[in-house]
């Protein structure tokens, strides 16, 4: 009975594969609200791996990629269907706050979930090609002021997204009245945007330190400003801040997690303390150093408050530049 054997094989192969996806509901689960390969996916996988390495969780963290709507599909899923799930956490970042602030998750607001903790922040950078004549942030902003059409700024987020907002925050802090005249070109991710900077298609890049780091090390691009309150530690100490150049602009892409709104206090506290313990560990310091993540140590209520503040800030910038009414 060759047929039966083949059919059995096909069925067995199919089942064993899908079993991977469906296995063990009790495992801690992390939803990455995007396809594999992005920042949220990284957050889930790296934190899951480190938690397990440190013995803070005894089972492997199950990472589920629930892409769609810039995180909106996952947000709606958590709010509507999984609101009582105690073993679930969801990766979030400034992009989540940006979309919540701009009403891009239809019918959802930040109060519908519980914000757990941050695991670090990626400060924004503005960079130009190594052979560019521009050396400082004011020089770049003056060029834009004089003739906005002469400078194209590339970033990895869509128009109105966080990479775009960062450059607008700087422009507005420098006194450029009509920030909408700043020419922003959206690429599919920071990597593609940097590539186009190297290719000479665009004149400036706005993104995160982690996206720029490899190219700074190789000497291909130079960072003219980092949007942090003071100079960053370690190998990033050479980057001048925008503030010290007289442009009072701060832009941090924080990374962290939220949990379902109906999670029990007990489970919430347990997650908060686990992520807090992870953050305090030496291993995590190494991960942060290797990926250019700057310190941002907020847990529980403090984090909840921080996110609320971040949403309010983005709402007011977005209104100013006309992205929302």
């Amino acid at each position: 009975m060759k047929f039966t054997v083949t059919r059995g094989l096909v069925a067995a192969a199919a089942l064993s594969l899908y079993a991977f996806a469906a296995q063990a509901q009790e495992n801690p689960e992390c939803i990455a609200p995007a396809n594999p390969g992005g920042g949220w996916d990284f957050t889930c996988r790296q934190v899951g791996k480190s938690l397990q390495d440190l013995g803070l969780i005894d089972k492997t963290m199950q990472v589920v990629n629930l892409a769609g709507g810039g995180g909106g599909v996952a947000f709606a899923e958590v709010v509507n269907k999984r609101t009582d799930d105690n073993s679930l956490i969801v990766a979030a970042s400034s992009a989540t706050a940006t979309r919540l602030a701009q009403g891009a998750y239809p019918g959802n607001s930040m109060d519908q979930v519980r914000w757990l903790a941050s695991i670090g922040a990626d400060y924004g950078v503005i960079a130009v090609a190594a052979d560019s004549g521009i050396e400082t942030l004011p020089q770049l902003l003056d060029t834009i002021k004089a003739d906005p059409s002469s400078v194209s700024v590339a970033g990895g987020s869509a128009v109105g997204g966080w990479d775009h907002l960062k450059v607008l925050i700087a422009a507005s802090a420098y006194g450029i009245k009509d920030v909408r005249s700043v020419k922003y070109i959206a690429f599919d991710g920071g990597g593609e945007a940097v590539t186009q900077l190297l290719a000479g298609s665009v004149q400036a890049f706005t993104g995160d330190i982690s996206e720029a780091k490899g190219f700074v090390d190789s000497g291909d691009i130079k960072v003219i400003a980092v949007l942090s309150p003071e100079r960053l530690p370690g190998e990033f100490a050479d980057f001048p801040t925008a503030k010290e150049q007289g442009v009072d602009a701060i832009g941090a892409n924080w990374r962290g997690f939220y949990a379902p709104g109906g999670m029990s206090d007990e489970a919430y506290d347990a997650w908060v303390s686990k992520i807090g313990e992870l953050y305090a560990s030496g291993e995590w310091k190494e991960v942060m150093a290797a990926n250019g993540l700057a310190p941002l140590d907020l847990q529980g209520a403090a984090f909840q408050e921080f996110v609320a503040g971040s949403v309010a800030q983005i709402q007011s910038i977005s209104k100013e530049i006309g992205i929302i009414k």
């Binding site: 709507g69 599919d188 190494e286 990926n291």
Partner: protein, 512 residues
């Protein structure tokens, strides 16, 4: 020879029992995942990441496991294309065009083993390309600005006439339909949602995996249901398998094709904005323009099987170049691999080759090992795969339906995607009735977004000046090839058309 010494070190790292075992496991699982419609290389790699982490593997063994899955899936995609006319993953779509007709002619065994060899040649040459040229190739990627990318996509679509064996107008219609579907979702250049009707699931646009499975697999099921209902027994697909090895003359005939398309596919892979699907697409249509003197492409020409397979496997290797050397993923799968590298505390980028040579050379050695393993595994397994053809449709089709539903739900975890898939299934069924080819629809959906975005980036950067599109020698060259590819068939059109009419009746849209 520093190069050979490095490569030797790489093999020393890769050739441990554990690593060989991992490569074997990866190749096997990858082939199966590639063959299952819905599960492509990127999901395959993503599914196995937890396994790599749970086993506590280091950087090099993890990469060996995951790249074996990647290459395995690129090999496996062709199997269901040839046997069932359902592409196992996106790049294997072009293999349907000639692979399935070959299977229908009773040459399934030859088609499978020939495509296995073509995959090997493509991947093998691409791995050498990766070793020898990676640092230099980065410069090619830097020649491509938005205007050049747009010209490249335009080139792909203007030579589309070569793809479909049926009516030109219908394939143009299909491509336009695909491009239209690609506009659904939030427009990244303005941040405005288009055609989403307030449905958050549509904000990121349509997932082309869902589209492929719906259009190809489900519509196949619908056609089957219909013919059953009509009383005609669908056991009409009684097929002979034929030999398991291609005759030497066939290999000799297809060798130049394989070599040419390997180069073409590799270059497409190196460009971060292009990828494996464009690689196999351009390989097929260019090869058809070049050697299809008698109009046999689309009817089961072995060269039409070898071209896209060599092309897409070469592109898979090429896509590793920008990932390793720039930290920019050239395809969905390399985006996943990039995430794995980052999770393992390795930062790909311009300095990876000097900072982590053990990882790079171990990976390259692993690619060679995986390649030979896959060839050795795939040729004897052809006999096993071809048995699928002998499963009666009444049993096979429910399995296809089940795998489609479980597969799509397993990936996205959303019932909305299942509804979209059913919608595409119905659409595919109607379009097949109307003899409209399905491949250009997928190409439109797959490439439409990048094409549109690059056009708008180019024009915005140059402040609304459309002449920017032909402002560099490279873009002028690409446009010239595109126009020649478009116009030439019109001039010699009468001759070609006559031949097309001769054979369009027998095959119809099913063989598109």
């Amino acid at each position: 020879m520093e190069l050979l010494a490095n490569l030797g070190d790489g093999f020393a790292i890769a050739l441990s029992w554990q690593n060989i075992g991992l490569a074997l496991l990866g190749c096997f699982l990858g082939t199966i995942m590639g063959a299952l419609p819905g599960l492509g290389p990127s999901n395959g790699v993503a599914i196995l990441i937890p396994l790599a982490f749970t086993l506590g593997l280091g950087a090099t063994p993890s990469l060996i496991l995951l790249t074996s899955v990647y290459y395995g899936a690129m090999y496996g995609g062709r199997i269901s294309s040839i046997l069932l006319n359902i592409p196992g993953d996106e790049p294997a779509m072009m293999t349907c065009l000639d692979g399935h007709p070959m299977a229908k002619k009773g040459l399934a065994g030859e088609a499978l083993s020939l495509s296995g060899i073509a995959s090997f040649v493509g991947a093998f040459l691409a791995t050498w390309g990766l070793i020898l040229l990676a640092p230099q190739l980065v410069k090619i990627a830097l020649l491509f600005g938005p205007a050049e990318y747009f010209a490249l996509f335009a080139l792909a679509f203007m030579t589309l006439g070569g793809v479909s064996s049926t009516n030109q107008a219908k394939s143009a219609f299909a491509a336009a339909l695909g491009l239209g579907l690609a506009t659904i979702g939030v427009d990244t250049q303005t941040g405005v949602p288009r055609f989403t009707f307030g449905e958050v699931h549509l904000y990121d646009g349509l997932d082309f995996l869902v589209a492929i499975v719906g259009l190809f697999a489900l519509s196949e099921v619908f056609i089957f249901l219909e013919t059953r209902h009509g009383g005609s027994d669908a056991a009409g697909r009684k097929l002979t398998i034929g030999k398991l090895y291609p005759p030497v003359s066939m290999i000799r005939q297809t060798t130049p094709t394989m070599l040419r398309t390997s180069v073409l596919g590799f270059i497409a892979g190196v460009l971060p904005g292009a990828g494996a699907s464009l690689g196999s697409f351009i390989s097929y249509s260019m090869e058809k323009k070049l050697v299809d003197k008698n109009g046999t492409f689309g009817t089961g020409d072995p060269r039409g099987v070898a071209a896209p397979e060599a092309g897409n496997n070469a592109a898979a290797g090429g896509a590793l170049v920008p990932m390793l050397a720039l930290g920019v993923p050239g395809s969905g799968t390399t985006a996943v691999l990039l995430a794995v590298l980052l999770a393992l505390n390795i930062t790909p980028g311009p300095l990876l080759f000097s900072q982590n040579p053990d990882v790079v050379w171990g990976l390259i050695a692993a690619l060679f090992i995986a390649n030979f393993m896959l060839l050795a595994m795939n040729i004897p397994m052809v006999g096993l795969f071809t048995r699928v053809l002998m499963i009666p449709s009444r049993i096979l089709m429910p399995i296809v339906a089940m795998v489609s539903f479980v597969g799509i739900y397993g990936i996205s975890g959303s019932t909305f995607d299942l509804l979209v898939m059913i919608g595409f299934g119905v659409m595919g069924w109607v379009l097949r009735k109307l003899d409209v080819p399905l491949v250009p629809i997928i190409l439109g959906t797959l490439l439409g977004n990048s094409m549109e975005n690059n056009l708008r980036r180019a024009v915005t950067i140059d402040n609304g000046n459309w002449w920017t599109l032909i402002d560099s020698p490279l873009s002028i060259a690409l446009w010239a090839i595109a126009i020649i590819g478009f116009v030439l068939p019109l001039i010699v059109g009468a001759r070609v058309k006559a031949k097309m009419h001769q054979r369009r009746d027998e095959e119809g849209a099913i063989s598109d």
